[in-house]
């Protein structure tokens, strides 16, 4: 039976929405979670699967990441279904001199901020990951708290516990309107029925703008496509998530119409290598193009030459909700009471998702949050909305 009423309606069944629903339910809130497609059907279901804080910048960025990582650990302990979370440690590698200034600056900032990272030399890098190209590695950065997880299982696990706590989850259900009157949310209309509520959480990822329109606000989140390759299963040869420092250098390329690329590589529990990455502005198109596929292959073979004989069995791409300042949008919005933002996690949704869910739940239940989120509000100038 479709719910007629709820204390909170969470829109979006990915990692952010699922975590939000779960944490709200733990505080005895009556929650309905609406997802237009499958569970973790969008960004949460097709990504590098990393829990990664190494490249998070000083300030609110790294604070959110560290808080969220602690939530990952908490969930690992309290959720029944295992979601393959492995805090194996993360590695960034440098293979060109021009990367050093970026990396050093980043490390300085992080140190000043109280979240230091350890710079290591080439020899140490190769001890950690022997597959890497001896002739090219100049050095690296090591972060023991980073790792990988299985986001689809994480979402499934969160959903399962949430349902046990009374959350109603409706997949393949599309929100087509949110009724706002006298400046506050009154109900959510879906293609299955209308739910009376005075609190809506917008965890709709790349569709956050679409949901924002329903309440008459502009949410400056745009889809940003990232492609990855999957290889056949092979014996274990990559032991940690590896990112190339060029990723940091190139991060902004592609956002102005080109094709950005940078090394990210890891090996799944199943043995398949998940290799990336390239990114471009492709709207809502999930198809991969030749340039993306070849670029990713190039970057990975350069970094690990013995991968040349390993076969790619498919590629995939997903779009992530991009915001101008690379930070998520969390918290209430001006002018529409009861409308809470929890979107715009760029390519960091898996790391930051559980934390965001917890913070939104805290906000709604106590008014206070473990990490101050005032600077992440929709109205901040850095987002560039009019």
């Amino acid at each position: 039976m479709f719910p007629q009423e709820a204390e909170v309606v969470v829109i979006g069944g990915g990692v952010v929405g699922s975590a939000t629903a779960y944490f709200l339910a733990k505080e005895n809130k009556n929650v309905v979670l609406i997802e237009k497609g499958h569970s973790a059907g969008e960004a949460s279901g097709g990504n590098a699967a990393w829990v990664w804080s190494m490249t998070r910048k000083a300030g609110i960025d790294i604070q959110l990441a560290m808080h969220s990582i602690s939530i990952h650990q908490q969930l690992q302990a309290e959720l029944e279904l295992d979601f393959e979370y492995r805090a194996s440690g993360g590695l960034m590698i440098m293979d060109a001199e021009n990367q050093f200034p970026f990396v050093t600056a980043h490390l300085d900032q992080r140190k000043k901020d109280g979240h230091p990272l350890e710079m290591i030399d080439a020899k140490q890098v190769l001890e950690i990951e022997p597959m890497l190209n001896r002739d090219r590695i100049l050095g690296g950065v090591w972060n023991p708290v980073d790792g990988t997880t299985n986001p689809i299982l994480l979402v499934a696990s969160l959903n399962r516990e949430a349902e046990k706590l009374g959350v109603q989850i409706h997949h393949h259900t599309e929100v087509n309107g949110i009724d706002v009157s006298q400046g506050r949310v009154r109900s959510v209309t879906t293609d299955q029925g209308t739910i009376k509520t005075d609190c809506v959480v917008n965890a709709a990822g790349s569709w956050a703008g679409h949901i924002g329109e329903m309440v008459g606000i502009t949410v400056p989140v745009s889809p940003f496509q990232m492609a990855l390759l999957v290889t056949e299963r092979i014996p274990r040869c990559i032991f940690h998530p590896i990112m190339g420092a060029s990723y940091m250098v190139e991060e902004d390329t592609g956002k102005e119409g080109g094709l950005g690329s940078g090394l990210i590589a890891s090996q799944q529990v199943s043995g398949n290598l998940l290799l990336g990455a390239s990114w471009r502005d492709a709207g809502f198109d999930k198809r991969t193009i030749q340039e993306e596929i070849e670029r990713i292959a190039m970057v990975n073979v350069e970094a690990m030459p013995s991968l040349k004989n390993i076969r790619v069995i498919r590629s995939f791409a997903n779009f992530f909700p991009h915001t101008r300042d690379d930070l998520p949008i969390l918290g209430p919005v001006e002018g529409v009471e009861g409308f809470i933002m929890a979107s715009g996690h760029n390519g960091h949704g898996i790391c930051l998702g559980p934390g965001s869910g917890k913070l939104v739940a805290e906000l709604l239940c106590t008014g206070n949050t473990s990490v101050p989120i005032e600077g992440l509000k929709l109205e901040r100038p850095a987002l560039g909305a009019e």
Partner: protein
């Protein structure tokens, strides 16, 4: 940047006849063939090292192929034939990406003919993954081209006249056939029917010969019989067979055991639609075939303008149909490019269409015998493997199929079916039938079995342009 007025993917009868036709009118043709030399499956040529001491031994197919190869030789200098070329992607801007000699290359095309062929239908039953259980097509390839018999005591199980061709070849090569199981429901005029079909497929006269060979060898042809199980330790040693009803469902208490060392499964063919799906052509379910095929016009054009599909890669119908369809598509492309528009072409086209119409009629007869019935996909037990690459069992999939509101996409994501090295080629057709039998999948576009490049496994070295050691 390589360019072609007409790019053809596939070097079998469909692709080659299209190439010959188009090149004959002056069209600039490039063929991308995965194999070392032309012929595809049915007209596959012997590898270097093997010498035929008796050409007649290759059978009817060989004679036909010789004709086609002669035609090809005549226009060879006008065709850019790329062997060992594995197409891995087709992109929106009329571009094909392929791997060849360790490198990834591209070709821009104005028109494209996809002649990607077909492969044996995978049918799951307990023990079907045991070594020694292979497809009829695989057995045929081993015997004809590799000149090796996969075993001594062989059971053929399947449906349709192709089984008898394979049986004949196996017997000629010295095999002892335990039995030929025809699961289909064919009464009375069965052999005459087979001959009729062969007649139209150019096997006239041979039909009777095949049956005679089989009879002479004392091989029982058991109608309404199916293999239900293969037993063995590291290899198949025994098969359990049973009688079936009209829906191919096992009739209780009819099981028999056969001791053997090889099982050949010949349940018809599945069209390779990876490329047509990648090119975003519309498909529809052909219930006569029991599989999806690209929608096509009279001139073999798909719903994507400029992209044609011919042969078994567009709907399984044998080499004669492939040859005719290839020619039709070749002419259509030549006309589109302004290379041919005479009355002669019109007459040729009419003749070819007539030929196809005759085949179509016979196809329907064949389908009546061999169209998969529900019982075929009810042989699997809980632990029977459905996805061979990822070891996903029937139970895992059935449990989800019985979940309300589930879709093919959901099943794929939750079980990882279709996410292995074969790209869903083995499990995909099975999953579709299971979904259809449960009413979840209709006749429209198959959902959730999306194709993304690379459509066949390609090494990172090839994609990176630095080569590999493969």
């Amino acid at each position: 940047m390589e360019k072609a007025e007409l790019a053809i993917i596939g070097g079998g009868p469909g692709g080659i006849s299209a190439a010959v036709e188009a090149a004959g009118t002056g069209v600039n043709v490039t063929i991308l063939d995965e194999n070392a030399r032309i012929g595809g499956q049915i007209f596959r040529q012997l590898e270097k090292g093997f010498t035929l001491t008796n050409p007649k031994a290759m059978g009817r197919d060989y004679q036909k192929s010789v004709d086609l190869f002669k035609q090809f030789k005549k226009v060879e200098s006008r065709i850019n034939y790329l062997n060992h070329a594995t197409v891995w992607g087709i992109f929106d801007d009329h571009r094909i990406a392929y791997g060849r000699h360790g490198k990834s290359k591209t070709i821009d095309y104005k028109n494209l003919i996809i002649a990607s062929g077909a492969y044996d239908r995978p049918v799951p039953f307990p023990g079907w993954t045991l070594p020694g259980v292979l497809t009829a097509g695989g057995a045929q390839n081993l015997v004809k081209n590799q000149r090796i018999l996969p075993g001594k005591k062989i059971l053929l199980a399947g449906t349709g006249p192709l089984q008898l061709v394979v049986a004949h070849q196996l017997i000629q090569a010295g095999a002892d056939i335990a039995a030929i199981l025809e699961v289909g429901n064919v009464k009375g005029m069965w052999l005459k029917l087979m001959q009729g079909i062969w007649g139209n497929w150019g096997y006239a006269g041979d039909g009777l010969r095949y049956v005679q060979t089989i009879r002479k060898a004392g091989v029982p042809i058991m109608q309404n019989h199916i293999i239900t199980r293969a037993n063995g330790n590291q290899h198949v040693e025994e098969a359990v067979i049973a009688r079936v009803d009209e829906d191919w469902r096992v009739i209780p208490d009819t099981r028999k055991s056969l001791k053997l060392d090889t099982v050949c499964l010949g349940y018809g063919l599945v069209t390779s639609t990876e490329l047509t799906r990648l090119a975003r052509c519309d498909h529809e379910y052909d219930s006569g075939l029991g599989g999806y095929v690209p929608k096509r016009s009279e001139t073999m054009e798909t719903t994507q303008k400029g992209i044609f599909a011919v042969g078994d890669g567009a709907g399984v119908a044998g080499s004669q149909v492939a040859l005719a369809e290839g020619r039709i598509a070749g002419i259509a492309v030549a006309q589109a490019l302004g290379h041919a528009s005479g009355a002669g072409q019109k007459k040729t086209l009419a003749g070819l269409q007539k030929k196809l119409a005759r085949h179509h009629g016979l196809r329907q007869v064949l389908d009546a015998i061999s169209r998969p019935r529900p019982g075929l996909y009810e042989l699997a037990e809980d632990e029977t493997i459905i996805c061979r690459c990822e070891d996903i069992t029937f139970k895992q999939i059935q449990t989800l199929i019985q979940t309300q509101g589930i879709s093919a996409k959901d099943i794929k994501r939750k079980t990882r079916v279709g996410m292995g090295s074969c790209g869903g080629r083995m499990c995909g057709p099975i999953l579709i039938e299971l979904l259809r039998n449960s009413g979840i999948q209709g006749s429209g576009q198959p959902d959730g079995l999306n194709v993304r490049p690379p459509v066949k496994p390609v090494s990172l070295g090839v994609l990176a342009g630095t080569g590999d050691n493969r």
